[in-house]
């Protein structure tokens, strides 16, 4: 099967959902979510069947924009899995979603919420394959525009609207910066094909204009992945957006951002590039500042969703550190590209688990503050245990999946001699222990007036259980991720 059909199929699923939406009765809109999940699961199957076209020259125009290598397959699978989890989360979130849309209490007007993530998924899958600045831009916009709607979906909720406006303005700004950067790169190298840019760079008399263009593109990518200096929108938007959107932003959108960041950066940081040193220097600064900002600003947070927002910035910093320590990989060490994939795969598991737990707690207590977790150790011991495991993993405790990503990032950084990044990274990890454990403290040390057991929906129960067990299993035996990465 030709890989191009994959995205076409996903878009088709989205369109079908959108059409059906008109006919589904208002009380059963969440059945659309189940349908979308079914469609995506089949998409996952197709992903394994799809093969790179044997004769790309037959479709040269497409082949120029679209690659189907192991990284592309990995990030496509990542996008689909992430979207499936987001849709599951959305089904559990339907009560709150319905409260702030059309008719409070009825599910009228929530149907699109199950179709839009599917379109975003298609965009992320294109991003995974895009290898030309033009196709990168188009794919990126598909994702971003979908997210404008998803963020502001609870239109009767001021927080969600505010988040939507902030995201729209900054997103538009970053789009503008991206196009401007692409223009500079095109102007200096005469091509938008990333495979050719590396060669053209070596022929340049002056690399300054290309570096300027790259810096602009990096700015816009920093917006996508939530890195300094474009991180300011993150806490507000994450807090205001509906929780499934937040989860989607913090996992799917970030991963897709890194997927294209790696493709764009490769010609600039690879061996022999005339701007290698400068690019690595910029990346190191971004990584160091992102780690510091994310981890230190997370410390005083009292809202759990906001805490997760800063934590997502912090994780972006660690991933950037792995990119800054650019390594092509050798017989016995992972390349930067693989480490990023590895990190994101474990990040997906841990973060999604935590968001499911957050929605469960929100449904039971009506609050997303850390204080809502008070006494959870007594109210729902199993849920509290799962949250403890997931948070420990996010903090990077060894023997959980979360340790490996950080371990490899630091290993690359030490091999590359990026001592500043390493020191800042270690400060960040130490701070991480503090703010993640704050939630653990709330669950076990504090008591709550309400001691009734928390009700966990079946979807959440199985998903949280699976993700927690995966976190532990992959902590002992991480090899399957490597297999997914095609290493």
């Amino acid at each position: 099967m030709s890989p191009y059909l994959l995205e076409a199929y996903i878009v088709l699923v989205g369109l079908v959902i959108l059409m059906l939406e008109a006919f589904v009765p208002a009380i059963r809109k969440d059945s659309l979510g189940i349908l979308a999940i079914g469609g995506l699961v089949f998409g996952l199957v197709l992903l394994f069947v799809a093969q790179a076209p044997a004769h790309p020259e037959n479709n040269a125009e497409m082949a120029r924009f679209y690659s189907f290598d192991s990284a592309a397959i990995f990030y496509k699978g990542f996008a689909i899995v992430c979207t499936i989890l987001v849709l599951l989360l959305a089904i559990d979130y339907k009560g709150i979603l319905a409260k702030f849309t059309e008719n409070p209490g009825s599910q009228e007007g929530t149907g699109e919420y199950y179709a839009l993530p599917v379109f975003a998924c298609a965009g992320m899958m294109w991003m995974a394959s895009a290898k030309d600045l033009i196709s990168i831009f188009v794919a990126l916009e598909l994702v971003t525009i979908t997210f404008y709607i998803l963020v502001a979906f609870m239109r009767r909720n001021v927080g969600s609207l505010e988040a939507g406006v902030k995201y729209l303005i900054l997103g538009a700004l970053s789009t503008g910066i991206l196009v401007y950067g692409v223009a500079w790169i095109y102007g200096t190298t005469g091509t938008t094909d990333l495979a050719l840019i590396g060669e053209k760079l070596k022929e340049l008399d002056s690399t300054t204009p290309a570096l300027f263009g790259l810096s602009l593109i990096l700015l816009s990518l920093a917006f996508k992945v939530g890195a300094v200096p474009m991180q300011l929108w993150i806490p507000d938007v994450y807090q205001g957006a509906p929780t499934p959107t937040t989860a989607f932003l913090s996992v799917g959108s970030k991963a897709a951002g890194f997927a294209i960041a790696l493709r764009i950066l490769e010609p600039f940081v690879q061996e022999g590039s005339p701007v290698q040193q400068q690019t690595i220097f910029i990346l190191l600064i971004l990584a160091g500042l992102t780690i510091l900002y994310g981890n230190l600003a997370a410390i005083p947070q009292s809202n759990f969703k906001r805490l997760l927002a800063y934590s997502s910035v912090a994780h972006a910093g660690f991933i950037l550190l792995a990119i800054a320590a650019w390594n092509e990989g050798s017989g016995n060490s992972l390349s930067s590209v693989q480490v990023v994939g590895f990190y994101l795969a474990t990040y997906l598991i841990m973060t999604m688990g935590i968001f499911f737990a957050l929605v469960t707690v929100r449904n039971a207590t009506g609050s997303e503050e850390i204080a809502a977790f008070d006494g959870l150790g007594k109210r729902s011991p199993a849920l509290a245990l799962a949250i403890t495991v997931l948070l420990s993993a996010l903090a990077g405790l060894p023997l959980t999946a979360g340790f490996y990503g950080k371990f490899f990032a630091f290993q690359l950084a030490i091999d590359a001699g990026l001592w500043t990044g390493v020191i800042l990274g270690f400060i960040g990890v130490a701070a991480g222990f503090y703010y993640y454990l704050k939630v653990v403290r709330a669950m076990y040390w504090r008591t709550s007036d309400d001691t009734t057991a928390i009700e966990i929906s079946p979807f959440s129960r199985y998903t949280i259980g699976t993700l927690t067990v995966l976190t532990i299993l992959l902590g002992f035996y991480p090899d399957p991720i490597l297999w997914l990465l095609g290493a």
Partner: protein
């Protein structure tokens, strides 16, 4: 097969969480580990690969879950872990209704400690140690006493920071060694350039040092041990803390020159442990903080053996490593016994304030005897295990003394460290006198003595102290190369 020692506590923890009878499961699991541990130790003498296993968990970079009894040091520490774990779980009195937190936490700490000592792969060696971090945090924070929340934060942040610095050192070491996997065998075969060695050695000393409460990174230990529930103090002070020293001794050959360069610093730090913390210990008004500080203080002696080792290397100073290991074992047993019994004192009298206690020996003679035995061991009375360790430490300090060259830093350190013996005698005897002797006070009038069930763990620990004290070769046989003529103890007697 060695994996059983880790899997048993882990399986028991899961079983308890799933609803198995908590105390019975935990005691059974640690009891079985105890028996298995001795079995493996006995088999090890004939076959150094006994129970070794290796499972590759990541192919690139190559990381394996490898377990094995790497050398006699691993055997000794494994024995220490299983003995103390059994005693801690058996003697701990879990508050009503908290069994699902208490026993699984203790079992996780046990599994982490045993895993760290058995790992022959640097990655899991580090990783297993961290397994104890969260359970310790929860146990101190929820079930501790006194200023428990602050103590829990302090120990967690300190240990997390120490581990992270350690991780930096280990990664740098791995990177500089050029080894292609994390196995100890391939790492220890590598050579590291001198320039990198100093930096790595400094990171390792600070990182491991924080975990062992080396001065000036020690201030987490005393409050945490004082607040923690007794089994956690026993496991942490007795077993887990030794991980840092174990790691330094294990990885020493890789950074021998770097550590040699840092000896003066090390001497200053360890004297800080012995003298500074020693004086602080004398000043304590409560038994639990006193014991906590005393455990910090005694780490100084073990570091002294390490400094002696680093001065001339293991060939020139063959008793340094056995000295350190015997003392680690002896200290682990004696401090666990002291913490366990001080918990009994608290239950019998309701207080650990020294000035509120007195004459307890009258109401509780057995408790007094066993506590006295552990206290004497801690002071270093001949015939008990700590004496064998301490005397070897001091001998190792002067092993390479050349009178014509004057005193080296290590020898100066040894001379000053000898004063530590006086200090520990002062506070231990004083505490013993205040608690058990003198006129009977209201709090101790009707105190219960140890019942049969309480005595068992203490007796097991006491037997371990006596056996190693009267017949040090029981441990030294593990620690010295096979030829009995080279047994270090005979050399030092000359």
């Amino acid at each position: 097969m060695l994996a059983l020692l880790i899997l048993l506590p882990l399986a028991a923890a899961i079983a308890i969480l799933c609803g198995a009878s908590a105390r019975r499961t935990a005691v059974l699991a640690t009891g079985a580990s105890l028996i298995l541990g001795f079995l493996f130790a006995a088999l090890w003498s004939n076959n150094h690969d006994v129970g070794a296993m290796s499972l590759e968990v990541l192919s690139k970079p190559s990381i394996s879950l490898s377990l094995g009894l790497f050398d006699g040091m691993s055997v000794t520490m494994m024995l220490l872990s299983v003995i103390v774990a059994f005693a801690a779980i058996f003697s701990g009195k879990c508050p009503e209704g908290r069994e699902k937190l208490w026993y699984p936490s203790c079992l996780l700490i046990t599994a982490g400690a045993i895993g760290a000592f058995l790992s022959t792969d640097l990655f899991f060696f580090y990783a297993f140690h961290e397994l104890a971090l969260i359970p310790t945090f929860l146990m101190i924070g929820i079930l501790g006493t006194g200023d428990r929340k602050q103590a829990a934060w302090k120990i967690t942040i300190y240990l997390a920071f120490g581990s992270i610095i350690l991780l930096a050192g280990l990664l740098w070491m791995f990177s500089a060694s050029g080894a292609d996997n994390f196995q100890f065998t391939s790492l220890l075969a590598a050579e590291i350039p001198y320039d990198a060695q100093i930096g790595i050695a400094a990171l390792l000393i600070i990182g491991f040092g924080t975990l062992v409460s080396l001065f000036p990174f020690h201030s987490w230990a005393a409050p945490a041990y004082a607040s923690a529930p007794a089994p956690v103090s026993m496991l942490h002070a007795g077993v887990l803390k030794k991980f840092g020293l174990f790691g330094l001794l294990r990885l020493y050959p890789l950074v021998a020159d770097g550590i040699n360069y840092l000896i003066p610093w090390l001497i200053v730090m360890l004297l800080g442990n012995i003298l500074w913390v020693g004086l602080v210990t004398i000043n304590q008004k409560r038994l639990d903080t006193m014991l906590g500080n005393s455990s910090v203080m005694h780490m100084g002696y073990i570091f002294l053996a390490f400094a002696a080792l680093a001065e001339k290397g293991p060939i020139a100073n063959p008793i340094a490593i056995p000295a350190a290991v015997v003392l680690m074992f002896a200290h682990g047993i004696s401090i666990a016994m002291l913490f366990g019994l001080s918990d009994r004192i608290k239950q019998a009298t309701g207080t650990l304030e020294l000035r509120e206690l007195g004459g307890l020996a009258k109401a509780a003679p057995r408790l007094a005897f066993l506590f006295g035995l552990a206290a004497m061991a801690s002071i270093g009375l001949p015939g008990l295990a700590n004496f064998s360790g301490e005397i070897m430490v001091f001998l190792s300090g002067f092993k390479n003394w050349v009178p014509e060259e004057g005193l080296s830093p290590v020898q100066w350190g040894t001379i000053l460290a000898l004063w530590g013996l006086v200090i520990s005698a002062v506070y231990m005897l004083r505490a013993f006198r205040k608690i058990f002797q003198g006129p009977v006070v209201p709090t101790t009038e009707n105190a219960d003595d140890l019942n049969c069930c309480d005595r068992m763990p203490a007796v097991i620990l006491a037997v371990a102290l006596l056996v190693v004290g009267l017949y040090p070769n029981s441990l030294l046989n593990f620690l010295t190369p096979s030829e009995p003529t080279n047994a270090p103890i005979t050399q030092s007697d000359n």
